[in-house]
Amino acid sequence: MSNAAIADKRPSTLQGARLPKWSPYAIAGGSVAVAIGIGLAAGLDSRVQWGLIAGLLFVFGTYVIAARVEGRRQAKDRIATSLVWVAFLLAVVPLVSLIWETVQRGVKVLDVYFLTHSMGVVADAEPGGGIYHAILGTLEQVGLATLIAAPVGVLTAIYLVEYGRGNLARSITFFVDVMTGIPSIVAGLFILSLMLMLEMQPFGFAGSLALAILMMPVVVRSTEEMLKLVPNELREASLALGVPKWRTILKVVVPTSIGGITTGIMLAVARITGETAPVLLLVFGNSFINANPFEGAQASLPLYIYQQWANSAGSPAAYDRAWAASLTLIAFVMLLNLVARGIARWKAPKTGR
C-alpha cells in the first residue's frame, strides 16, 4: 500500500462535523413552537413572556445541539452568534411595534388640512384642527437653539482638541460631562428662574435657551470625537507648509471632519426636538398661530401631544390628533437622521480614483 492510500483512509483533521446551514432557522422555529406550547400549557397571558421563553430556548437549544454535533468550541461560537441575534430582536421588536402603533393610529387624521391648520377655534374635545402652529413653534425653537448651541459646541470642541491643555481644559471636559447629565426639566427651571426674575411672560426663545443648554454638551462630545479622528499627520503636514495653526484648523482639520460634525449636530437636533419639559415650562403652549418666538406663548409638537392627551378628558378626537402629531414628530426626526447620513456620505473624504 502506498503512502497516499494510507493518508486517504485517515479522517481529515481539518474537517469536522457541521450542522447544516438551515439549522439556526430550524432551531429558532422549534423554540418558538415549544415556547407557544409552554405558554398555552402554563396559561401565561403575556406574549412578552412567550417571546422571552422562545429566546432562552433558542440560545440553549443552539448550544446543546451544536455541542452534540460540532463540539464545544463551535458551540461557543454559535451561542455567541445566537445571543447577538436575540439581543438584536429584543432591541428591534419594541421599535417596530412603536412605529407600527404610531403609524396605524396616526394616519387617521394626518392630512394636508391637519398639517396646515392650527387649533385656533377648535375645542380640545372636538374633532378638526391641526398642528401647523406646533410645527412652526418646534421649527423656530429648535432652529434658534441650534443657532446658539452648534457654534458654541463646535468651538468648545475645537478648543478642547486643538488648544486645550491643563486644568482649564480638564475642568471644561468635566463640566461638559456634568451638563450631559442635566435633566431637561432642570434646564427648564434654570431659564424659568431667570424669566421670573426679569418678570417675563412665556415665549418661544426662552424654550430655545433651555434646549440650547441640553444640546450643547451633545454637540461638544460628538464634535470632539470627530476632531480626534483627524490624523495628526495632516495637522503636521499643514503646519510644516508654514500654515498658521488657526488656518490649519479652519482649512484642513474641520473640512476633513465636517461630515461627522454635521451628523453630530443633526443627531443633537433630533434629540432636543422631542424635549417636552422645558417647553412646557417656558413656552407654555398656544392654540393659535404665533410666528414670533420672541413674544407670547407658542406651541411645539411634543407639548401639543402632551396637551392633547392631558386636556381632552379622553376625547377620541384629541387622542387621534396626539397620535398624528407623534407620527409627524417621528417622521421629522427620522428625516433629520437621513439628512445627517446624506451629509456625512457627501462630505466624507474621498478615496476614489
Binding site: 495632516l234 499643514s238 484642513v252 473624504p349 478615496t351
Partner: protein, 258 residues
C-alpha cells in the same frame, strides 16, 4: 534660495525626557545630508528641531542654537510659522489632504498663506508637479482627490506640495520607508535633481540609500535605551562608508550592531 544650517549645542526634550543632547553640525547649502542611526537615537527629533516642528508635540522643548544663514531659528521674536515657510518638510507616510484635489493639495501651502491669482497658482502647481516628476502622471486628473493616487505618487505629491512654497531647505523624514523599490528609485532621482535648488536633509534607515543620495552623512547613536541620542560623527558620505573615524560608525555600517 538654498541656505546653510549651523547647529550648535542643540538639546531637545519631550517633557522631562532628554531625547537628543548637545548636537552641533553644519549642513551645506545645495547638498544632501543624510542622517543614519539605530531607531530611537533621535534622528527624526533632530530633523524636526530644524523647522520648529518639534515643539508641536506636547512637551517638546529645545535648547541651543540653529542658525539658518546667521539667523537663529530659536532666537527671540522668531515666528515658527515663518520658519516653516523657509524650511519645508516631507513625512514618513504620504499625507495628502484627503478633502482636497491634487491641484488643491499642491496649491495648499500657497493658498493658505496668501492671495495668489488663479493663473499664478496654475503655473506654480505645474512647475512643482514637474519638479516632483509627477506632472505627466496626473496632468489629466488634477481635480481628482489626491488620496486616489498610489503610495509612491502620493509621496511625490507631498514633495510637490512642499516645494511649491519655495522653501530654502527641505527636510525629509524617511520619505521612502513606506514605498516599493521603484517608487523609492523615483524619489531618489528626484532628490538628486532637487539638491540643485534646495538644501536637503534626509533621515533614512536604509544605508544604501544614504550612500546613493547623500553628499554628507551624519551618524547618530545612543548609549542605552532611555539615554539621549548623540551625534557620533558627520563627514563626507564616501568617508563615512569607507573609512569612518569612529569605531561605532564602522560597526553600525557593517552591521555588527544596531
Amino acid at each position: 534660495m538654498a541656505k546653510r544650517i549651523d547647529v550648535s549645542g542643540l538639546t531637545a526634550y519631550y517633557g522631562s525626557h532628554k531625547a537628543i543632547e548637545d548636537i552641533s553640525m553644519t549642513v551645506e547649502p545645495r547638498s544632501v545630508t543624510a542622517f543614519i542611526g539605530p531607531s530611537g537615537c533621535g534622528k527624526s527629533t533632530f530633523l524636526r528641531t530644524l523647522n520648529r516642528m518639534h515643539e508641536v508635540t506636547s512637551g517638546g522643548r529645545v535648547e541651543g542654537k540653529v542658525l539658518l544663514d546667521d539667523e537663529d531659528l530659536y532666537g527671540p521674536g522668531i515666528d515658527p510659522v515663518s520658519v516653516r515657510r523657509e524650511v519645508g518638510m516631507v513625512f514618513q507616510r504620504p499625507n495628502p489632504f484627503p478633502t482636497m484635489s491634487i491641484f488643491d493639495n499642491v496649491a495648499a501651502g500657497l493658498r493658505l498663506n496668501g492671495n495668489y491669482k488663479k493663473s499664478e497658482l496654475q503655473d506654480i502647481v505645474e512647475k512643482s508637479l514637474k519638479g516632483a516628476n509627477l506632472w505627466n502622471e496626473v496632468k489629466d486628473r488634477l481635480n481628482k482627490p489626491g488620496s486616489g493616487l498610489s503610495g509612491g505618487q502620493q509621496q511625490r505629491l507631498c514633495i510637490a506640495r512642499a516645494i511649491a512654497v519655495e522653501p530654502n531647505v527641505l527636510l525629509m523624514d524617511e520619505p521612502c520607508s513606506a514605498l516599493d523599490p521603484i517608487s523609492t528609485l523615483a524619489i531618489e532621482d528626484l532628490i538628486g535633481e532637487l539638491k540643485e535648488r534646495f538644501t536637503i536633509v534626509i533621515v533614512t534607515h536604509n544605508m544604501q540609500q544614504a550612500a546613493r543620495v547623500s553628499d554628507r552623512t551624519a551618524f547618530f547613536n545612543l548609549a542605552a535605551v532611555g539615554q539621549p541620542g548623540k551625534l557620533i560623527e558627520i563627514d563626507d558620505t564616501e568617508r563615512i562608508f569607507s573609512n569612518p573615524s569612529v569605531q561605532a560608525t564602522e560597526d553600525y555600517i557593517s552591521g555588527r550592531f544596531g
